[in-house]
Symmetry: C2
Subunit: 351 residues, 2 copies
């Protein structure tokens, strides 16, 4: 595998998150940036963006997404575009045989995501959503404890205090763009954390909690929900908000122990990530996990590895990430449905 | 005030918690043990209990609660008896002019507690419930941050993994004794923590969360609930359980900052208690509060101080603790009512 060429990634759009991800790709030995496409900037502006973010000098600049998707020197694409555009561009990318790294929320709802899923499966492309925390080496470590502790309940929250400009103008508060608001953004992480508690199994019922805050356009700015895995006697509560101080907590409590993570979404330090455990009624133990590379680079490396298996070894794409994204989207949808339906429980069987 | 004699406390029963509280009284300069009453042990056994726990040599041993309540050398009583007996013995104590330190839950329901409350008011006796964490100096410190941070949501949980013997035989799982189970025991603390979030104001609605676990006799072993202060846009979730690993968490998230406490019920260390704050999107700050005396002694000192004001200076009893206990009991009742009523919200207005 060490003889393989790096996976060539095309980036769509010149946004802040592309800046972060391009650094991650540059840090990843098995990936490289081969192209950048822009719809809204001029070619000159895109060139300047590429230069100032240390893209390789031979990066091709495309004036449209279509053009990038037809570029034979692109193996995979990163799509950090508004959620309302995901189904169109992810399906197009899959049809062009491009492997896909897609920002969360992966779609506006699960039926849209199922079109993406089908296009990936039909065209044999690898899919991963761009949620980075799952790839931090810390996550695997604390998941080991979660497996051992026979989890009974999980509470996860991700909030940040958005400023007035964000609350008026960001894609994430606009119905036509990322229409799922805090639920599809901050909530995405909390839902994934809840799924981790029961080995990625879907809960049986989802109930939104009283007190959601919506903006005038009906976009969720803050909400909570409860997931109930009835058979196993496990519950999880989540809280996500654009209106409260930065908080990124997981507390998973089991019959045999407790795991707490205080910065699960983005660790306070890039090179070291901590979590605590306690068990047997004893006090807290702190665990520190050294991370040579930032978690977004870990994500790119794993994505490029999976793409490499498909491209260079004819492997079937790994379906885990499609499945995990679909479950997360299903739970986003269910929380939204419960909010829209006067906090009635939503039963997930069969979905 | 320094010239006043210590407040003379009578203890009812020879239980483990009396052992802990007698040590606390011995550590309190303004309180002393003057009497011990037992119903179930012999006088000889009670004497031996008193000796082995370093009670003062002149402690009077009474063969009945009635006898202790008539003892003129008792200013105040500590009642660590099953909740089902609280209304009877607390009312009797008040009528004898004895000030009252009462274990939680303070009653089986708020209408019972209102009888205790009335007896205390009519007889001018000081009341306090025996929940110790409120008296740890740390609590006042983190409450200062909570006041500043404009709290939006609080999550508090207290769980411990009870063993089989506890789950079969403890008072707390028996309908005839402490009939409120984990909700009246562990839940009491989590409810108090939620009340702290909004300056001791009652929420407008209380909704039990899906997934409560009850034993065959209908006693709650594990449950969660949501409190909604609708006007202020504040919510709180609680989780209490006899079935999960020892966990004692408060996470209070505000517009301006977050407070986390990981051992709020009983600090892991007796002489030092910590909590963390974060604000402005920055990382965590740890705050350590030194505690010369264990929190149960802080409680006894404050109780004896209030009793001393009444006894020695003719002050009116301080009503804060009666009010706080009543609110806590009201919320315990409301969670139970919601559980019994298919998780329907309970509206508290006017209660």
């Amino acid at each position: 595998m060490s003889g393989d060429n790096p996976i060539r990634i095309g980036l769509l759009s010149c946004t802040k998150i592309v800046r972060k991800l391009s650094r991650a790709i540059n840090l990843s030995p098995n990936a490289t940036i081969s192209a950048l496409a822009t719809y809204t900037s001029s070619i000159e502006e895109a060139k300047s963006f590429a230069e100032s973010n240390n893209f390789p000098p031979n990066t091709k600049i495309h004036g449209s997404y279509e053009s990038l998707l037809e570029d034979p020197d692109v193996d995979a694409v990163y799509l950090p575009i508004p959620a309302s555009l995901h189904v169109e561009w992810a399906v197009r990318a899959a049809r062009q045989g491009k492997h896909i790294l897609l920002d969360k929320p992966v779609a506006l709802n699960v039926s849209e995501f199922d079109q993406i899923l089908e296009a990936c499966e039909v065209n044999g492309v690898q899919f991963m959503d761009g949620t980075q925390w799952m790839h931090n080496p810390r996550t695997a470590k604390f998941m080991d404890f979660i497996k051992d502790f026979e989890i009974k309940t999980v509470h996860s929250c991700f909030s940040f205090a958005a400023n007035g400009n964000f609350l008026r103008n960001d894609n994430r508060v606009k119905p036509g763009l990322d229409g799922l608001g805090a639920l599809g953004d901050a909530g995405w992480y909390t839902i994934q954390a809840a799924l981790v508690a029961n080995n990625f199994k879907l809960p049986k019922t989802v109930t939104a909690l009283p007190g959601p805050v919506l903006n005038d356009a009906g976009i969720v700015l803050s909400c909570g929900a409860l997931f109930d895995w009835e058979e196993e006697g496990i519950t999880a509560t989540i809280y996500c908000s654009f209106l409260a101080n930065l908080t990124m907590e997981i507390t998973a409590i089991g019959a045999k122990g407790t795991v707490s993570v205080h910065d699960f979404v983005i660790p306070y330090r890039e090179t070291e990530a901590a979590f605590t455990t306690s068990s047997g009624g004893c006090c807290l133990s702190e665990h520190k996990v050294m991370t040579e590379l930032p978690q977004e680079a870990c994500m790119v490396i794993e994505f490029a590895r999976l793409v490499g298996e498909v491209k260079n070894r004819g492997a079937k794409p790994d379906g885990f990430w499609l499945s995990f994204s679909r479950k997360t989207q299903l739970l986003v949808d269910a929380v939204k449905e419960s909010i829209d339906n006067n906090l009635e429980p939503v039963i997930l069987s069969g979905r």
